[in-house]
Amino acid sequence: MIIDLQKFIVAEQPFWSELERVLTRQEQDPYRRMSFDEIGRLHYLYQRASADLAKINTYSSERAMRDYLEALVGRAYSFIYGARQETVRFKPWRWFWRTFPSTFRRHRRAFALSLAVMLTGAIFGAAAIVIDPEAKAVLMPFEHLQGDPSERVAKEERGANEKHLTQGKSTFSAFLMTHNTRVSVFVLALGMTWGIGTVLLLFTNGVMLGAVAADYIRAGESAFLVGWLLPHGAVEIPSILVAGQAGLLLAAALIGGGAAKPMGERLRAVVPDVVTLISGVAVMLVWAGLVEAFFSQYHQPTIPYAVKIAFGVVELMLLVLFLRYSGRREIGLAMRRRLRGRWSKSR
């Protein structure tokens, strides 16, 4: 007990109060830019408070004093050593056209695995329907898919569903968006089960898809099937696959697989990419929801199948081009070079 606590407090209190003021001001406005002198002063105050805490820990055990200084040093530490990336404002345009597709490409192996699992499920589902058509009740838990495909096609082409939809297209669209996003988030979240849940969910979705496709193809309704599924499925199915990709990334970070880094570090490295992917999925599902409610449910003769299929094919091609090329630095540079060349020729 060799510290004069009262004298110590009287001498140091003004510096602590100043540090508190600086921290409160910055916490209230995280985007406020500090001048060089302010940063220097903050660093000095932080180091002084740290030294005071070290003194208190060594020479005195006054608990309230220690708690106060620990809280103060903790706040300053988190501010000074915290990642500074968040002071850069979020730019949605740049994020969508550059960050999201490049993140997707960086983890294309996880996407390939996600696709492989769903395809395996689809093959299994299709095979099950071909071998045992009675399995339909188990493989397709949706009432409107239980009946005979040809009967449904005839009913849809009479426009029975269209009349019903006219009253509630917006509601149906909103329901689809939220439901599919919820499913995608679940596919991602199940990555925390070492990826087992993600794989199971992708597989079961594949099974349902394969079973429906096989059922309609067997009934000779391929045109209806493609015209019905492709316009929204061209975006919706890749969305679920990207959600699976994010879930598998999370699982890979959790498992490690001989990586030298500890689990916390592995997760820290992968989480921003996982968030980017799932946010991209949400955007894609908004589009898919609109298309499914306002376009997919209208069948021939209202909209010819050829138009619907062409629409779906174009969508899929655009999606592939977007994910494959959007935001590529070398493409941007080449385009800039070409434009510059044209401009200099025109002069």
């Binding site: 007990m1 510290i3 004298k7 006054e62 309230a64 809280a71 990642a83 919820r182 979240a189 916390g264």
Partner: protein, 259 residues
Amino acid sequence: MNPEAAFSARTHARTIRTPEGVRFSLPLAGPVSRCLAWLIDALCLVAFAQTIQVAAALLGIVSRDLSQAVTILLYFIFFLGYAMALEWYWNGQTIGKRILGLRVMDVRGLRLRPSQIIIRNLLRAVDSLPAVYLLGGVVCLASRYAQRLGDLAANTIVVRSTRVTAPRIDTVLADNRYNSLRAYPHLAARLRQQVTPIEADTALQALLRRDDLDPEGRVELFATMARHFKSKVVYPEEDLAGISDEQYVRDVVDLLFRR
């Protein structure tokens, strides 16, 4: 790891060592306080859901379809984004956490990044399995820093964050103008040597909180403390004559905390 070992590995605080070599600790929030905070947040969500319904009913006058669509979207956005938005704008706090003095922090004591907030809230989908956050609760009880799965993935912890103010030690010592124990510097030096930091702190805390104690308890407490300190260093009887036990303890604290 067996469950007992996992449980014993839990700590009540996250201690962080800064590059300056200073340690500070963040007291961790337990599952009960977190559950209460969640209940408060759930009540807020229900209240907001009611507001949405009223607004939707008004919109329904224009178009029933649009009103239902807006309701579905607003419910979804609000239920998913409530915690994310508040934890970002209030530095790791929601209404429930603010009321109960809890805060989400990075496990290394750093500021939260947006991706951490988003992922810890998205993973509620798996933490809430099979119902009422059972899986999250079990993981929280078993994990070292009381983290649910969302916290593990996001590298976050939930800490108790009551704003601590500087202690008013001057209220105890400023009025102690004459201290008879200072007349014997060699005994004062011995007292400083004999009294442990914990004993000194206990005496100081008793003086800081004297007004919170009931009179009988206060007399008894300071009598016990005075007896304890007198057993460590014996001062001449004539110097202690007329000094109450509380004043004696105050003099001892004055000697220990002031040079």
